[in-house]
Symmetry: C2
Subunit: 190 residues, 2 copies
């Protein structure tokens, strides 16, 4: 059956990161839900970091399934809202304990730092939050995408295609699948 | 004063291309309006090519100003809707006659081909519509971004950051501005 992904976003999330993750995963055949955090209703769009208004498929508190990956886009104040959300913490804990992938890009690795999931792990982030990861015990990398166990991290909008392709490869069971790269990179003109 | 941009999109436009153009231009200090084509109301979001629902700032028929650039994202059936829209044709004609920039990525150069704006011009597009450009008299290029006079074209989601940066450079009056590249590429981690 199709692998599944849950992408979480909030007001002030980076719209390019949010949309690249959802779109590339759907191109890869991953059943992908875009869920809102902190909104009172899914009737209204969220307002992203540069003012683009995007509708969630549903609010995060309606997502009771177990997905194969939980994806956190960056952007501020979106990443801080995700970090401080009890619903996000509960979803991450549940998926981490089930051995599912957790993926965070740009400022969003601060969510994983706060939850002590980066201690002794190789990880990266946007440079602006490097010290938060180091203080949480991460072995900081400047690579564009870093995978350590079930945790995938990446740096920003410009690394987000590679980040999403890494997630798709990992879901296919092959961390560097030539087939996935060929199927995704070529039509996108990467 | 700030330069201005009008980004046009429709149901079935490529959401990554739409959002990258709007976001990068806003990061560059360009006053950017995202306008919908073919929707009956701006109360409802458009449904993009991979199902992401994005709100326009206003419907295109409300856009009576002269902008410094008109930007057309690709994706299907969005690009075909843009091509067949009388409002889009009117906006492009008005801006082209005023010597403003016209920029199209992915499948959207078919709009310019149909309007005979590519005859004798260097241009590129997604490979899937290359023959349409050649038949319209374009000198086809496989470069990732091509500027010829006031027309800027590019290839797909993976070239869209470069496309948007080229637009920002051109609006700053310097087609290869090191300052614009530094200001945009570095924080985006390109
Ligand atoms: Cu496209």
């Amino acid at each position: 059956s199709m692998p599944s992904a849950l992408v979480l976003f909030a007001d002030g999330s980076e719209e390019m990161e949010t949309v690249i993750c959802v779109d590339v995963l759907r191109r890869a055949g991953v059943e992908t839900i875009l869920a809102s955090v902190g909104a009172t209703s899914s009737e209204h769009p969220l307002i992203c970091s540069r003012g683009v208004r995007i509708h969630a498929d549903c609010p995060a508190h309606h997502c009771h399934d177990l997905y194969d990956v939980v994806v956190l886009p960056g952007g501020q104040p979106g990443a801080t809202t995700l970090r401080d959300s009890k619903i996000v913490q509960k979803l991450i804990t549940k998926h981490n304990e089930a051995g599912k992938l957790i993926a965070a890009v740009c400022a969003a690795p601060i969510v994983l730092a706060q939850m002590c999931l980066l201690k002794g792990r190789n990880a990266t982030s946007h440079p602006s939050v490097e010290s938060t990861l180091v203080e949480a015990g991460a072995t900081y990398s400047q690579n564009r995408v870093v995978k350590d166990g079930n945790i995938i991290t990446s740096r920003g909008p410009g690394t987000c295609f590679e980040f999403a392709i890494q997630i798709a490869c990992s879901l296919s069971g092959d961390d560097n699948s030539a087939d996935v790269h060929e199927a995704l990179a070529k039509p996108m003109m990467l």
